[in-house]
Symmetry: C2
DNA sequence: ATGTATTTTAATGTATACATTACAAAATAC
DNA sequence: GTATTTTGTAATGTATACATTAAAATACAT
């Protein structure tokens, strides 16, 4: 007989440390441009240096920080020019996904989902719920990419989206919610329905370019 | 006075282990689908488990292997469908790079470089020097991408190129050298010169699609 | 003989101890 | 007082010891 019991989470400590440390960087608890000692971070996160080190190595590969030989763990700044490049790459990847999506008949269920989250965005804006707005914006682009049915592309886009997320979190309070976004999403959906690749791509590219411009301006204002 | 002395490389052991281990995977010394114990690998590479572990974590993120809790380090196979996806992404990224490159006047020096390495490829083929051929093929695409002047894109393409490299190394002996490649490169150069974006993209896409097709067929033949 | 419970074992995950070394401060020479 | 050498120290990099645990092996009962 199988005993039913509470399944206690037993993820590796190094994984927990990884997620916590990651959040601390994204949440700007660890200040950009600063150095932090392994020992201190380890204690702060309730682990020894080993799991902390393993987490830091992963985050270094993600580009969030740098392990500098005798100075500590360096929190890398998000420079405006780099963020612009990242947005450009993101925009191209989405363009590719849209092209693929339009080359075959688009799944009506997916279209419905896109419409649903767009409505959610509008509603969220009306209630001044920025977090809900951001979540649905995120969802919209995830669904859009999933249309490509290329898993490699999907995870790649996700990783780039995360990179921009950091900048968005930094500037969430500063920037005014882009009311245009929902309308742009509507247009993309419309173009998808009619298989109008060119238009869908054009709108999305424009959408990204505007978002990129706004963010990089804010970043330049924040950084020296 | 500064004494001049032989500068001995003092890279971290974990870095050396990383590179060695990486090469062992790419070179198929560690067989795909097999599990290897940390202890054994560490001894084999002349280090303790700690540096080996750090190296393995990095390679896990690169997607070459997987650290499986109580079984060992698993060398991930390259599955044909995944490789097809990777090639598709690579192709799109190059398409993006070419678009950008063509949107501004192309640096004549770069064009000259492209022509040089293409000639090198032809010459290498005449001497049956597959390694030199592969090196120059690599160079061609590197230069092509560098035209985009987007560093994020450049490093991204490089990482994808490396992923395909693994499959190429596996199949280098089997496949016949694609004599068409040089001609395709020539056509891309010609299109670039005339700022003919559409043609340049079309040829490159076709080029990649063919390479992808050949490789995935071979991979399917090798794997179960 | 088969299925269940218990013990053993072997491998990872984590903590810690030790070695190494870049940087800085102090000391000495001029 | 400045420059150079020496020494000290603090932090990482590496090795190792220990804890944990999933799976295999064994024992046992039915």
């Amino acid at each position: 007989m199988t005993r039913t019991m509470t399944v206690v989470k037993k993820s590796k400590l190094s994984d927990q440390v990884f997620q916590k440390l990651r959040f601390m960087v994204l949440d700007n608890q660890l200040k950009v441009g600063n150095y932090y000692l392994e020992q201190e971070l380890a204690e702060q996160l309730g682990s020894s240096r080993t799991p902390l080190r393993e987490a830091a190595i992963r985050l270094e590969q993600e580009g969030l920080l740098e392990i500098v030989p005798r100075r500590g763990i360096y929190i890398k700044p998000i420079l405006a020019p780099q963020m612009a490049e990242i947005y450009q790459v993101l925009s191209w990847l989405e363009t590719a996904a849209i092209s693929i999506a339009c080359s075959k008949p688009v799944d009506p269920d997916k279209i419905a989902e896109l419409e649903r989250v767009t409505n959610n965005m509008i509603e969220a804006l009306e209630h001044d719920d920025l977090v809900a707005w951001a979540e649905n914006d995120n969802l919209f682009h995830q669904i859009l990419i999933s249309l490509s049915q290329n898993n490699e592309l999907i995870s790649l886009v996700n990783s780039y989206w995360e990179k921009t997320n950091r900048a968005r979190m930094l500037t969430l309070r500063i920037r005014k919610p882009p009311v245009q976004s929902s309308q742009e999403h509507r247009s993309v959906i419309e173009a998808l329905k009619q298989g109008d690749v060119e238009t869908a791509i054009a709108i999305n590219t424009q959408h990204r370019a505007r978002a990129s411009g706004e963010l990089t301006n804010l970043l330049e204002a924040i950084n020296p």
